[in-house]
Symmetry: none
Subunit: 251 residues, 2 copies
DNA sequence: TTTGTTTTGAACAAAAATAAACAATTTTAA
DNA sequence: TTAAAATTGTTTATTTTTGTTCAAAACAAA
C-alpha cells in the first residue's frame, strides 16, 4: 500500500465519517501511526482534510462546529425538558432573541427545522444553527472569548434595533424576594435589553436555580412573562411562585 | 511477449483494478520487475496511467477532484507568502479590518500573538482568532451561511462606527483598465465600507488574480494604498502597475 | 498554577523501490 | 549466417519510504 492508495482511503474515510483519529487510520491501513501522521500532514497541506490533534476531520466541519460545540452537559436532561417546552411556544415566522446561557443553547436542537429568525449574541448558538433552516442575525460588538458571546455597548445598540416576538433568556438565579440575579454584569445587561425589545419574555431556568441568589441582582420578577422550569421543581416552590403572580410552565 | 502486448495488458489491468503494483504485473506478464518498471515509465509519459511508487493507478483516481473543492487551500503557498508580508505591516496596538476572503483568512496564523484589535465580518477569522491574543470585534447583522460571513445593511452601519489603522481586503479580480472587481455585491460593499473607514488600505491578491475581471466592477484603483501580491507575478505586469502609480509589494 | 497524560515530530535504523551498469538474450537487417 | 541494434534480466548502488524510539509540546485535570 503506497501513499496514493492510502490517500484515497483516508480522504474517503474522512468524508464519510466526518472525523477519524490517527490510531483508527493506522489500523485501517495496516501501517504505523507515524506514517499516518506524515500522510495527514501532506493531505492537510493539499487542503483535502483538516488536521486536528489526534486525527483529522472534514474541512467543512472544521471551521465552526467543533470550535464551539463542546459545551457543558450539566443537568442536560432537565435543560432538554425545559427547551422542549420552550420550543412549543414558538410559531412559524417568529423573530426570537436567544441569549448566551448553556440552557438556551440546548434550545437549538428543537428549532432546527422551523422557519424563524433568531437574533443572538451567542457564538455556540450561531454555530449550531449554521446548518439549520433558521435564519440567523448575529449581534455585533466585542467578542468575549471566555463566554463565547458578544457583549458591550455596541451589542446593546445592535439589539435595540430589533423588535422580536419572543425572547428566551437563561438566568443564573431567581428568587421571590430579590427577583433576577446574574453572575456577570454583561449577561444581566444583555438580558435586560432583549427583554425590553420583545413582546413576550421567557425565562429558562432549571429547578436547581429556583430560589437562589447570585452576585448581581438586576431586575424584578415583572421583567418576564413566563418562567419555564422542569418537573423536579418542589411543589411548594411552584405554588409560591404562582401565588406571587408568576406564570410558571413545567409540564 | 513484446512491449505492445504488455502495454495492452497493463493498461487494461490498471483500468479494471484501479491500481496495481510492480510485482503483480511482473507475475502476470511473466517478466522481470525491471521490465515492468520500464514499461510503466513509458506508459506514464504517454499519460495512459499514473505512475506511483511501487506500481501504477488509474489517472482518474490520482488526478484529484477534491483538490479545488477547498478554496482556502488553493494557492496556499502564495497566500501564505502574501500574508507574511501583510503581517509585517501591522504594529502593536493597531485596530485592523479583515474581510471574509480566503486569502485574508490565512493572515490569522501570522497575527496570533500580536496585541491588536481585529474588526471582521468573517466567521472563520473570528473562530480562528478565538484562541489567540488578538481582541476581536465581530460585525453584527444577517449571517450569510454560504459565505460564513455577516453582510447587509446593519453590518455596514456597524462597520461605519469604527475607525481602523489598516484594512486587509481580499479581492477577486483587479485590472489596470477596470479597477477592482468581485464575485458578489455583498463582498464588494463590505470591502468599500472597510476601505472608507481605514487610514491605510491593503489589498491582498495572489498573482493569479492580477489582470482578471470578475462579474462586478465596484471601485477604481485609488480605493487602496498598497497592493500585496506574490513573487510569481510576471515582471511586466508588476512594472505596468508601478508605472500606473500603484504601490505594489511582493518581496 | 502544577501535574499527569496524550500527541507530536525529529533522529535514526530498516526496508522497499528505483535507477544504473552491465551481461545475456532476442530481433533486425545486411 | 552474422554483426549491430534493441530489448530484457541480474546485480549493485542510490533514493525513497517506513517504523521505532524518545524528548518536547499540547492539552486536560486537579
Amino acid at each position: 500500500m503506497n501513499f496514493q492508495n492510502r490517500k484515497q482511503l483516508i480522504v474517503q474515510t474522512v468524508e464519510e465519517r466526518g472525523s477519524v483519529d490517527v490510531r483508527e487510520l493506522a489500523d485501517l491501513l495496516r501501517t504505523s501511526e507515524m506514517t499516518v501522521r506524515r500522510d495527514l500532514v501532506q493531505l492537510a497541506s493539499m487542503g483535502l482534510i483538516y488536521r486536528t490533534r489526534g486525527g483529522a476531520m472534514r474541512v467543512s466541519l472544521a471551521t465552526d462546529k467543533h470550535t464551539f460545540a463542546n459545551k457543558t452537559a450539566v443537568n442536560a436532561e432537565r435543560k432538554d425538558y425545559i427547551c422542549r417546552l420552550a420550543a412549543q411556544e414558538i410559531q412559524e415566522g417568529d423573530v426570537i432573541f436567544m441569549d448566551c446561557g448553556s440552557t438556551v443553547f440546548r434550545l437549538c436542537q428543537f428549532i432546527r427545522n422551523k422557519r424563524i429568525t433568531v437574533v443572538t449574541n451567542s457564538l455556540p448558538v450561531m454555530a449550531e444553527l449554521m446548518t439549520s433552516d433558521v435564519s440567523i442575525n448575529l449581534v455585533g460588538g466585542e467578542v468575549d472569548k471566555e463566554r463565547q458571546a458578544i457583549h458591550g455597548l455596541i451589542a446593546e445598540e445592535h439589539m435595540a434595533r430589533y423588535r422580536a416576538n419572543r425572547a428566551f433568556i437563561g438566568i443564573d438565579g431567581i428568587s421571590l424576594a430579590n427577583g433576577l440575579s446574574a453572575n456577570s454584569e454583561k449577561e444581566a445587561s444583555t438580558a435586560t435589553t432583549m427583554a425590553r425589545q420583545s413582546d413576550k419574555v421567557y425565562l429558562l431556568c432549571d429547578s436547581s436555580k429556583l430560589e437562589t441568589n447570585k452576585y448581581l441582582h438586576f431586575a424584578p420578577l415583572t421583567m418576564f412573562d413566563v418562567l419555564i422550569t422542569d418537573q423536579e421543581a418542589p411543589t411548594d416552590v411552584v405554588t409560591a411562585y404562582r401565588q406571587a403572580g408568576v406564570t410558571l410552565l413545567n409540564e
